[in-house]
């Protein structure tokens, strides 16, 4: 269970801050909102956990910031960051899979696309993890599958709830049928969490969650929450369009569409995710309400709003 505390890692927050470096009309240290074109100061955008202050557009969120935004201050202990993929297929497209892995690892500073940790939300100990979409589209190969499986197994062993935040294009083609098997590996472990620990699992769907990730643990939450306007579905919109040969309905495969069709429990703005999960977990586990609605969480220091660490 031993892992490094994030705050002891000097590089923990050293993530690229520019969101649109190629745009010449966007000055240094600023990002343009792709939704409303507002110019946003990078530091302020990070303070707002990457949500546009003007239109509410949710930018992709780095895993470090994601988990800090969800968990109580000082509670996060990372796991399984040392796992690395094997190239069992010897896969080669325009470049070898090994080279693809190496360049993602170098660019992002992580071994693969999933970040998991023990932590607490509103004082409830949890096992939590999230995808890094920047790493090969958040695709799930054996390392991601193993990390998520271990997350559920740790939660089962410790009898604590599990939380997984998804952002993934699905299974990782470069690992072939073994990546498909990660769907079974993870779901089986999730089954044990229910059978043996009886603990709830909260699945948070963010933009985008599709393919083999959607068709496994992501859609199996006891509670399924989605960030607004995220693309969520099994098949990609392009594939469906090609199959049926006609235009797709307005808003198809968005969070709002899934809510309308009974597929998710609620759409929750990023800034409200922590309080929503904290409140629900305390209720589901029969714990007393927090007197100040979770603004303090059993840790001596008051917790500032998410993203302020």
């Amino acid at each position: 269970m031993a892992g490094k505390r994030w705050f002891e890692r000097p590089d923990a927050m050293a993530v690229p801050s520019r969101e649109s470096a190629a745009d010449p009309a966007t000055p240094e240290f600023y990002t343009r909102c792709p939704s409303c074109t507002e110019l946003l100061y990078d530091e302020a955008l990070r303070e707002a956990i990457k949500v546009c202050g003007r239109c509410g557009h949710h930018f992709p969120l780095e895993p470090e910031l994601r988990l800090l935004s969800l968990c109580d201050v000082g509670t996060l202990v990372e796991h399984d960051g040392h796992l690395v993929a094997r190239d069992l297929l010897g896969f080669f497209d325009s470049k070898p899979y090994k080279a693809r892995l190496a360049s993602s690892q170098k660019a992002i500073g992580r071994s693969d696309a999933f970040y998991s940790a023990s932590g607490a939300v509103w004082g409830v100990p949890v096992e939590v993890g999230c995808f890094d979409f920047r790493f090969m589209g958040g695709s799930m190969g054996a390392v991601v599958g193993e990390s998520i499986t271990r997350l559920y197994e740790r939660a089962t062993e410790r009898k604590v709830p599990a939380i997984v935040v998804s952002a993934s294009g699905g299974a990782r083609m470069q690992e072939g049928v073994l990546s498909l098997m990660q769907m079974a590996r993870t779901c089986a472990a999730l089954g044990r969490l229910r059978d043996e620990a009886g603990m709830p699992y909260v699945s948070v769907l963010t933009h985008p969650t599709t393919g083999g990730v959607a068709a496994s643990f992501a859609m199996l939450g006891d509670i399924i929450l989605a960030e607004p306007r995220s693309l969520i579905g099994f098949a990609g919109p392009r594939v469906i369009k090609e199959t049926i040969g006609q235009a797709l309905p307005e808003g198809f495969q968005t969070s709002e569409y899934l809510l309308d069709h009974g597929m998710i429990d609620a759409i929750v703005e990023r800034s409200a995710l922590r309080s929503t999960i904290g409140r629900l977990l305390r209720q589901l586990l029969g714990l007393p309400a927090l007197p100040d609605e979770g603004r303090t969480t059993g840790t001596p220091a008051p917790v500032r709003e998410a993203g302020s660490a």
Partner: protein, 326 residues
């Protein structure tokens, strides 16, 4: 089925000449038996040579051949007293997946007469049938029907046999609307918890999540010329090389053949097909599958519910080895 694949042509050509000689023999009353014998020998040699070095793409074509046996052919050949059970109890009956209860007929084996729940993808053999069966591409309703039948088997202690043959789960608006992803996910999870023996046979195309949704077995077997993949070769090629015509290249890169899957640990055994492929000798293929089912069901007969569940868990838990950095 009268579909001849490109690489089968030289063999089929020889057979046609043999057939012509036979007709000549009949009509003219001359003996051509030595020529026929020679040609037959050549045809067999050629067939063996071609089939001993099939490329992954050629196997993909065989796996998709409309003359291959589908689930209802296995039911007809290996079982009696089949009652098809319909519907997901949510408003739909998906005809791309059929299921029901039947009795195994495998004379001389320990499982002869055993009641089982059988479930599988059913493709059509022509356009009309394929429209009816939606080309073996199930909607969520099909997976929910399958789950309902698996729960019935679990409650009554009946073994479950699944026959997997699908290009993939159906990518359509109605399928998404009714929760394709959730239906597949639910099946995968629930299959992992079953307390009865589950044997999954990939008998044609093992197309991604739509295949795995029937594929979480204590034993997973593949017919010799079937394929099992995370994405169709064409789909993979479209993403990697922006060209669906590069399917053959993707088929090789993805390692989708039975031999590859066995090497990767994804399956437990390969069921041999008759010379020339399953579509050339359906009854023989069905019998070959019957022998494998008897063997593997027999090997699971000593395990109780908890052991079956644990064995299945461990089986899938170990798939996908990773390395650890120092």
């Amino acid at each position: 089925m009268d579909v001849t694949l490109d690489f089968e042509r030289p063999i089929v050509e020889l057979w046609r000449r043999i057939e012509q000689l036979r007709e000549l023999e009949q009509s003219d009353g001359v003996s051509l038996s030595s020529s026929i014998e020679q040609l037959a020998l050549r045809a067999n040699e050629l067939q063996q040579r071609i089939f001993s070095r099939l490329t992954p793409w050629q196997r993909t074509q065989l796996a998709r051949h409309p003359g291959r046996p589908y689930v209802l052919d296995y039911v007809a050949g290996l079982m009696t007293e089949f009652t098809e059970l319909h519907g997901d109890r949510g408003g739909f009956d998906d005809r791309a997946i059929v299921g029901g209860v039947a009795r195994l007929r495998l004379p001389g084996t320990s499982v002869d007469g055993l009641p089982v729940v059988v479930i599988g993808h059913q493709k059509g053999r022509n356009t009309k049938e394929n429209l009816y069966r939606n080309f073996g591409m199930a909607r969520p309703d099909g997976y929910r029907k399958a789950l309902r039948l698996m729960r019935l088997a679990d409650a009554q202690g009946l073994p479950i046999l699944t026959f997997i043959d699908t290009p993939g789960a159906y990518p359509g608006v109605d399928a998404e609307e009714r929760g394709q992803a959730e239906a597949i996910a639910r099946n995968i999870l629930e299959m992992s918890r079953l307390r009865v023996p589950v044997i999954a046979v990939v008998c044609g195309e093992g197309g991604s999540g739509g295949a795995l949704a029937l594929g979480v077995g204590n034993r997973v077997l593949m017919l010799e010329n079937s394929v099992y993949s995370v994405i169709s070769p064409e789909g993979c090629a479209a993403i990697l090389w922006r060209d669906r015509a590069e399917g053959p290249r993707a088929a090789a890169a993805l390692r989708i053949t039975a031999a590859d899957c066995l090497e990767l640990g994804v399956i437990d055994g390969i069921i041999p097909e008759p010379a020339g492929g399953a579509h050339r000798a359906v009854a023989e293929t069905v019998a070959s599958v019957g022998r494998a089912l008897a063997e593997h069901l027999g090997s699971l007969s000593g395990l109780d519910g908890a052991a079956l569940r644990a064995q299945r868990y461990d089986r899938f838990r170990s798939l996908g080895p990773v390395d650890a950095l120092k």
